[in-house]
Structures are given as structure tokens and as C-alpha cells.
């Protein structure tokens, strides 16, 4: 079974933005100051009484003087040397030790990996700053000691990062290829993998820089970094505290500079990481644009299309699209249907044809942003578009209920079955806890769950897939819905369980006089249980009609192909299972003309240019969108590729769907 095709926006080519540029500029400024501190025309940082003590900015001292009359700017520039020097040294030391260890762990895996990572976890189990304090307390405070301690403390983080990247790359084709060609392990590791680790490592180096600058600052603040007379930022903040009330700038200048520097390192590292981290790029939430659900179009008034009472469910010209980088992805493109009580409508089509999105669109369960939706959904004549989110929630779960494909993910793993099943009863029906549990017990029994009382107390992971699906069905039925939407309710289940679940749904529909919308790509399921069928392709309805007629004599060529692709268990085992050639079209740029034409063996010139509309067939209630429908045009008159679909079994009517 193909997974539902998701529309993933093309990898975003994000520009760096002004924040990134400002951050780089600031870092360049600080680095420049650190490098040229001796060359600049600044007073010596250690000389006292270069001017009045505790003055604010003056022409001679752009950032003022401190309590001893030393020049603050000069001290900042010299302090930058310590911060950046220790930072750079620690980053390289950590990378030098952690990099190779991570490469080895990620490349060789197995025992080597386990030993390295266990050691790593143990080292990580120490509070870093306290460890640094202790070592410096005993070994003495000097640039060398501070640098070595902070560098060593960074090793575990480096091992972890490099190992992760290596693990990811060791599986890629070019590495496997190099290995098959007989390259030695160490050669592959250094030639093929190490270069790919460089980019993530660079982004990480900036983040580690930020951490080390803060750590060095902390030690300096405690008086345990480089000793006087060398100025340090942390030390300056500590000294400035004594003059907080008289000269705020003495503490403010190093504080602001330190904050900006750490922020800049974090910002640059973060942006670079976003560029290299594959997982991150797809998850960036869309910026909010226009309102999620558009106001109904001009013809908002519910136009009853026929005499008599309005149908139970009436969907009119529903459109749903997602704004992406590549343009609007039209997942549902003008779908209409009506449904009466006690009947089942099946929606069929390949994965990615818009079936599931149709359900979500009808129920208004679309993501919050980047969505365009138009059209109408009438429930007993009332246009649901007129309901606000609050009123819509009164319909959801009570009159319209839903069952999803995968029972493994449809239940909350950390809540008991009981809380989940009783929740709609308590919210919508305002039942007490005891009442709700009693009702839930009856519900579970009615969907064929033995020992309902025990099941209510258990968690989803303790139950089988079939049981879970019965529970989601019980949940859906709890408030006596009028329409049940079942989105591929059996796809994720065992074949034997599939039948039971379908029979259960069918029986419940009859007993409760509900209407059911059954989404499936399994035609055998549909043939047995549906009254009417709509066939979707690329977001559009391409054929609709009563189930028997549609299955015995499809008109649209896509329907025909779908039926051929359905496995027929009664066929001799040596017969070939046919597939529909090609892939469903790109919904952001569907092909011109008939959307199926690139894959249709019967396509002619007209199919490529003109889009066929749904036209009524001679059989009542049936319509199709095809220029050259099956059973009308002699097949031998078709152009290229006609043989592909008709070679084995020309008689469509003989295809069986029992399975």
C-alpha cells in the first residue's frame, strides 16, 4: 500500500536576513578590536588614573573610566582577547579530541560506538561549571588551565554531533560505493565522510563559542579566570558591581558587549544550522497570511437544487488548496456530492488523489495557515460555512463523526482508553463521569469488545490494532452521529480483521440510520459496501454513479485502469497484477486538458488540450469526465500504447472485485 503522498515544499532557500548580517558585523568588530588592541591609540588597560575615575563618556575615554580611572574601552578591547582567545582555543581543543572520536563511533558503530558513547554519557553526567571550578581551584587559574578545562568539557558535545552526522552519511550511496570499491575503512572515513561533517561542525562551533564565552565569563566573574592585571569581561562586571549606584556604565558596558557577543555567536550558529539541518527545513511553520477559511463566495445563499426536503449532506463545489513555495497545491478541486440517510458513499482513487483532504476539508480540519478553501457544505440545508469555529465544534463529534486510517496513531498514547472514549460524552452530552463510563461500557460492548470494563482502564499500547480501531469507532459513534466519515478505516489492519471492521461499520450504519462516507483505495471494500461511488483523480471527481454500474462498466478510463489494478484473488495465481503506469500529477501544476492524459493509453489530441467536464450517462445518476469513454469508442482506434491496458483482458465487465 502506497503511503499517502504528501506535498512537501521544495527546500527553502532562505536568505540570511538582516539579523544574521548584523551579528556577523558585530563579531567582526569584536574580533577586530581584540586583534588590534595593542595597535589602537588606546591608553594601557592596566594604567590607573588615566583620567577622572568613574566618568561617563568623554572625548578622551569614549566609554568612560572605571573606579580606578582606567579606560573602559581599552579594557574591553583587551578583555575581548581573553574571551575570544579562550573560546577559539577551547573550540579547537574540543573538536580535535571529540571529532575523531565521533567519526569512529559513527562509522564503525557496534561495540566501539557503545564504549565511546557510554564514556561520553558519564562525562556528561558532571555539572560542567562546578567541575571547571574544582579543577581550577586545585590546578590554579591561568589562561592555559581555563582553556584546557573548557575545551575538555566541550568534548562530549562534539562527539555527539560528529557521530550523528557520520551515522547519517555512512548510509549514503557514495560511501557504500567507495566501500564496495574496496577502499579501506579509515580512508573512506576521512575522504568521504569527514568533509561532509565540516559544515555542521562550523555551525556548531559558533554555538560552542557562545557557550565557552559565557563559561569563561562566569569563571572570570568569580575571579577564577585569567588573573589581574589582564582585564576580562566577567571580571569587569564583577568589579563594576561596587559602583552600581554611582557609575552604572562601568558594569553596563561589559554586560551589553557580552550579551551582544553571545547573541551574535548564537544567531550565526543557529542560522547556519538551519541551512544544514535537513530535519529542520521542512518543519518551519508557515507565516500567517490571509484568514484560514475564506468567506463563502458571492453565491452564499444555499441554493436548493431540487424540490422536497434538503439532503442530509450536500457538498457543493468544494475547493481546498495549500499555498506553498511552488504555488497553490490544489488538493480538492471542485468536488460536489449529496448523501442521504442510510446510504454509503465511497470515495476512491489512488494515494494523493485528494480523498483524505476532501474529508478534512468538509469537516474544516485543515491546518491553521496557508490554506485556501471555498465552496459549501450543507447539513440538512444549513450551510456550515456560516458557523464560526465554536458553533462548528457543536456539530463535530455529535452530528458528524470521523474514523481514521491508522488506529495505532489515532489514540493518544498517554491517556487511558476510558478518558478518551468518555470525553465526547462529557463535553457534548454533559454527562457525569459515572454516566459517561457506563455509556462507554455499553458502546464498547456494542462494537464487539470483550471485557469493556478492563479495556476502558487500559492504555492504547496494550491493545491490538483491531481492538483500537473498534475503540475509535465506538468513540465516533458515542454521540449518535448522522454522518460517519471513515477515512481508509481498514488499510492499516490485518486482512482478517479488515472484514470484521467493515461489517461492523456497515451494521452500525443500518442500525443507526446514519449516512457513511467511506474513503478507500481498496476497490474490493468499496464494491461490497457502497451504494454510490465517486472516483477522484488529482483533486477532481472524474466519475460517479451507483456502485454496481460503475464497477461492471466503468466509463472513465482512469476508473477502468483502477479496476484492473485491483488484485483479484479469484484469478489464477500466475496472472499478472497490473499497475497504472506513471505517477499521480503534481497538484501545484496539473497537466493541461484531461489530468489523466499523460498516463492514459487512450489519450488523443483533444485530451491534451481540452478538459472534459462531468457529463450525464445514459444510466441515471451516473456521470463521467472523459472524451473517449470506455464502451463507446472502439479500442483499436486509439493511438499509442493502446495495447498496454487491453492486451490481457478486453472485457471490462468480467473483472471481479470479490477478493
Amino acid at each position: 500500500m502506497l503511503p499517502e503522498q504528501k506535498t512537501v515544499p521544495a527546500k527553502k532557500r532562505r536568505r540570511f536576513g538582516w539579523g544574521f548580517r548584523l551579528a556577523l558585523l558585530w563579531l567582526l568588530l569584536v574580533i577586530g578590536a581584540a586583534l588590534t588592541a595593542d595597535l589602537l591609540p588606546l591608553p594601557d588597560p592596566g594604567t590607573t588614573l588615566t583620567g577622572e575615575p568613574e566618568t561617563g563618556p568623554t572625548p578622551g575615554h569614549p566609554l568612560g573610566t572605571d573606579g580606578l580611572g582606567r579606560d573602559v574601552l581599552s579594557r574591553m578591547a583587551h578583555g575581548a582577547r581573553v574571551s575570544l582567545g579562550v573560546g577559539l582555543g577551547a573550540v579547537f581543543l574540543g573538536l580535535l579530541i571529540g571529532g575523531p572520536l565521533g567519526l569512529i563511533a559513527g562509522y564503525y558503530r557496534g561495540v566501539v560506538d557503545r564504549i565511546i558513547m557510554t564514556a561520553n554519557d558519564i562525562v556528561l553526567a558532571f555539572p560542567a561549571l562546578v567541575f571547571a571550578l574544582a579543577v581550577i581551584a586545585f590546578a590554579g587559574a591561568s589562561v592555559r588551565n581555563v582553556l584546557v578545562v573548557l575545551g575538555l568539557l566541550g568534548v562530549p558535545a562534539w562527539v555527539r554531533l560528529v557521530r550523528g552526522v557520520t551515522l547519517a552519511f555512512a548510509q549514503r550511496e557514495f560511501v557504500t560505493a567507495a566501500r564496495t570499491l574496496g577502499a579501506r575503512g579509515s580512508t573512506v572515513m576521512w575522504r568521504e565522510i569527514a568533509p561532509n561533517v565540516v559544515l555542521p561542525a562550523v555551525s556548531y562551533a559558533f554555538i560552542i563559542m557562545a557557550v565557552v564565552v559565557v563559561a569563561e565569563g562566569s569563571l572570570a566573574f568569580l575571579g577564577l579566570s585569567v588573573q589581574a592585571p589582564t582585564p576580562t569581561w566577567g571580571g569587569m562586571i564583577n568589579e563594576g558591581r561596587s559602583t552600581l549606584e554611582t557609575a552604572t556604565h562601568i558594569v553596563l558596558v561589559p554586560s551589553v558587549v557580552m550579551f551582544l557577543t553571545v547573541l551574535a555567536f548564537n544567531l550565526v550558529g543557529d542560522r547556519l544550522r538551519e541551512l544544514t539541518d535537513v530535519r529542520q527545513s521542512g518543519l518551519e511553520p508557515a507565516r500567517p497570511q490571509r484568514p484560514a477559511v475564506r468567506a463563502p463566495a458571492a453565491d452564499a445563499a444555499p441554493a436548493p437544487r431540487r424540490e422536497g426536503p434538503p439532503p442530509l449532506l450536500d457538498v457543493v463545489d468544494l475547493h481546498t488548496g495549500f499555498r506553498t513555495e511552488r504555488g497553490l497545491v490544489r488538493a480538492v478541486d471542485g468536488v460536489s456530492f449529496t448523501l442521504e440517510r442510510g446510504r454509503t458513499l465511497a470515495v476512491v482513487g489512488e494515494s494523493g488523489s485528494g480523498k483524505s483532504m476532501l474529508i478534512r476539508s468538509i469537516l474544516g480540519l485543515l491546518p491553521g495557515s496557508g490554506v485556501e478553501r471555498s465552496g459549501h457544505v450543507h447539513l440538512e440545508g444549513e450551510d456550515l460555512a456560516g458557523r464560526g469555529p465554536e458553533d462548528m465544534r457543536k456539530v463535530l463529534g455529535t452530528r458528524l463523526a470521523t474514523v481514521f486510517q491508522d488506529p495505532m496513531t489515532a489514540l493518544n498514547p498517554v491517556r487511558t482508553v476510558g478518558t478518551q472514549v468518555t470525553e465526547p460524552l462529557r463535553v457534548h452530552r454533559k454527562m457525569s463521569r459515572a454516566e459517561a463510563y457506563e455509556t462507554a461500557e455499553r458502546l464498547l460492548a456494542s462494537v464487539g469488545i470483550p471485557e469493556p470494563r478492563r479495556v476502558l482502564r487500559s492504555h492504547p499500547h496494550q491493545l491490538s490494532g483491531g481492538m483500537r480501531q473498534r475503540i475509535t469507532i465506538a468513540m465516533a459513534l458515542s454521540c449518535d452521529p448522522e454522518v460517519l466519515f471513515a477515512d481508509e478505516p481498514t488499510t492499516a489492519l490485518d486482512v482478517t480483521v479488515q472484514r470484521q471492521i467493515l461489517r461492523l461499520l456497515h451494521r452500525q450504519r443500518d442500525e443507526r440510520d446514519m449516512a457513511m462516507v467511506l474513503v478507500s483505495h481498496d476497490l474490493a471494500v468499496v464494491a461490497d459496501h457502497a451504494d454510490e461511488v465517486i472516483v477522484m483523480y488529482a483533486g477532481r471527481v472524474v466519475e460517479r454513479g451507483p456502485a454496481d454500474a460503475l464497477f461492471t462498466a466503468p466509463r472513465m478510463r482512469y476508473t477502468e485502469a483502477l479496476l484492473r489494478a485491483a488484485p483479484d484473488l479469484s484469478a489464477p495465481s500466475h496472472s499478472r497484477l497490473e499497475v497504472i503506469e506513471g505517477r499521480p500529477p503534481d497538484l501545484a501544476a496539473p497537466p493541461a486538458g484531461c489530468r489523466f492524459h499523460p498516463r492514459c493509453p487512450f489519450a488523443r489530441e483533444r485530451c491534451r488540450t481540452e478538459e472534459p467536464a462531468l457529463v450525464e450517462d445514459t444510466i441515471p445518476g451516473r456521470s463521467y469526465a472523459c472524451w473517449y469513454p470506455a464502451g463507446e469508442v472502439p479500442d483499436e482506434g486509439t493511438e499509442e500504447g493502446a495495447g498496454d491496458l487491453t492486451a490481457e483482458d478486453g472485457n471490462v465487465g468480467s473483472v471481479r472485485h470479490g477478493g
Partner: protein, 315 residues
């Protein structure tokens, strides 16, 4: 579950052994003669010999470690040569202050981070989300001693609402006690708050894309109910792990906070002892902090199992 606990317990004991070994070995980092360093330079030959004998410096490393470890297990961390107070006693005096600071800051940061994370995740990409994300990025980049100095400047110097330094024990005056700890805990909470809010936000955004959330919406439940009852609990589980991992940074921050605000906690005792060259106190303090860290993480690991039914039921 019992098996998991046993395995973790074995791991805990191993890590504790490594921790004690490191703490013990630290004395060896002292340059020159440790006995001379410990006594300061005024000691005479007889006193030096006595210290050497007491510390067992003449014995081989491993037998010294075994002796020392035996003492540690029975609560004997030695006696300071400077104050003549047993190390364990000074630590016990200071510990409540540090624990109160840590607990208070965690309560503040979680109390703010959970609503912030929920609000940001509810409309990911919205205005509130962007404001919160930017703010937490800024907080994350602020060293504690910078945010502490700024808070002192605003709330103690500019508008003298709260004391800048000093500590009142809870038993003396509960209100003053809270007032004296408010600024320190706020400072310590600021950085943690950013870490937690960011994590919770991204975890919630992932949880909100789960099928069971869409189905909860399909059942007509309100966004508030879905966030608090359906999404928060699965996401809270990963938050708990991070609280454990974060403890190291928290303890480091506490040392600085205690110095900055003049709180008589364990961190300040360690730093003061470093300057006083009271090495046995430093050793004992570091050991206490490391052991506390490892044990709390062990407890959090167990809690994690209790919170997640999938782990709880795994036998």
C-alpha cells in the same frame, strides 16, 4: 519496569564510583606537596607530618581512596584545617539555601515556560509565537551574571523594592526569606525559562500534527482542551528529561547567583573555600554537588517511566 530500575541502579552506582574517584583525585592536582598547600605556608614540619599521616599521603593511591570512600559513605568528609569545622557540617548548614534557590527557580521557570510554550505552539508562526521565540532566544544568550546585575540595577538600585544581597532564613521570617530569594530565583529562572519554553514549543508543534490530535478536533473538542489535555502530557514527558539534563547548567548558575546576591549556599562555600585554600571543603562541596546531580537525574529517569505508560508497562 523492575528490570529497568535495576539496570539504572547498577549504572548509578558505577557513575557514583567514577564521581568519587574524580573528586578524590583532584587533591593530586595541587602543585607541589599537598600537605604544604593544605596547611598554607606557615606549617612546621611536625604539623606537615601530621597532615600527611591523616590524609594517608604516604600510602598508595588506591588504598587512600578506599579509606577516604569509607569515610564518605559514613558521612565523614574530613575536618577543615582552617576553620576546624567538619566539612560535612558546613555543607549541611549551607545546603538548604541552595536547595530552596533551585526549587524556587524551577517553579518560576516552569510556571512561566509552560503557558508560554502552549501559547506559542497554538498559533505557530503567529505574532505571539514570534515575540516569544525572539524573547527566549535573547534570554538564552544572556549570561546569569549579566541578567542578575541588570535585575539588581532595576529592582534594588533604581527602585529599591527588593534586597540586592543577603539572606534571611525561612524560620526567622518567611516573608523576608521569600523577598531575599526572589531576585536570585528570577535571575536563575530566566535562562531556564527560555530553554524550557523553546523545547516545549517545538515538541508541542510536533505533537499537534499527530492523528489523535486531528481526531480530537474532529470530535469537536475546544483548542484549549486539546492543548492542555491531549497535547501537553505527551510533550511534558520530553520536558522532564530536559529538566534533568539541565540540572548541570542550573547548579553552575546557582554558584554564580549565590556569589552575586551574597547567599550563604553551597556554591558560595565552594568559591570562598577556593580563595581561602580550604581544599577539603572544596573537595567535599564538589562531591556533594556531583552526587546530588547524578542522584536527581536517576530519580528523573524513574519519573519518566512513571509518566509514560508505554514505558511503565514494559516488563
Amino acid at each position: 519496569m523492575a528490570l529497568v530500575v535495576l539496570r539504572r541502579l547498577a549504572q548509578l552506582i558505577f557513575v557514583l564510583l567514577v564521581v568519587t574517584l574524580l573528586a578524590f583525585w583532584m587533591i593530586n592536582l595541587l602543585p607541589g606537596d599537598p600537605a604544604m598547600q593544605i596547611l598554607g605556608y606557615g606549617g612546621d614540619e611536625a604539623a606537615l607530618a601530621q597532615v600527611r599521616a591523616e590524609l594517608g599521603l604516604n600510602d598508595p593511591f588506591w588504598s587512600r581512596y578506599a579509606d577516604w570512600l569509607g569515610g564518605v559513605v559514613t558521612g565523614d568528609l574530613g575536618t577543615s584545617y582552617i576553620s576546624s569545622i567538619p566539612v560535612a557540617e558546613s555543607l549541611a548548614d549551607r545546603l538548604p539555601v541552595t536547595i530552596e534557590l533551585l526549587v524556587l527557580s524551577q517553579v518560576i521557570s516552569l510556571g512561566l515556560a509552560i503557558p508560554a510554550g502552549l501559547a506559542a505552539a497554538r498559533r505557530a508562526g503567529g505574532l505571539l509565537d514570534r515575540v516569544l521565540t525572539t524573547t527566549s532566544f535573547g534570554l538564552l544568550s544572556t549570561p546569569v551574571f549579566v541578567s542578575g546585575v541588570v535585575l539588581i540595577m532595576v529592582f534594588a538600585v533604581r527602585w529599591p523594592l527588593l534586597p540586592a544581597t543577603g539572606y534571611t532564613p525561612f524560620t526567622t521570617d518567611p516573608v523576608e526569606n521569600l523577598r531575599s530569594l526572589l531576585l536570585p530565583s528570577l535571575t536563575l529562572a530566566a535562562g531556564q525559562l527560555a530553554v524550557y519554553a523553546r523545547l516545549l514549543r517545538s515538541d508541542l508543534i510536533a505533537t499537534l500534527q499527530e492523528d489523535y490530535i486531528t481526531l480530537a478536533r474532529a470530535r469537536g473538542l475546544s483548542p484549549r482542551r486539546i492543548l492542555w489535555r491531549h497535547a501537553l502530557r505527551p510533550s511534558a514527558i520530553s520536558l522532564v528529561t530536559v529538566i534533568g539534563l539541565n540540572l548541570g547548567a542550573l547548579i553552575g548558575g546557582a554558584v554564580i547567583i549565590e556569589m552575586l546576591f551574597g547567599l550563604p549556599g553551597v556554591g558560595r562555600l565552594i568559591v570562598d573555600s577556593i580563595f581561602a585554600r580550604d581544599y577539603l571543603v572544596v573537595q567535599g562541596g564538589v562531591l556533594l554537588v556531583a552526587v546530588g546531580y547524578v542522584v536527581v537525574n536517576f530519580a528523573i529517569d524513574l519519573l519518566y517511566g512513571l509518566l509514560d505508560p508505554r514505558i511503565r508497562h514494559a516488563s
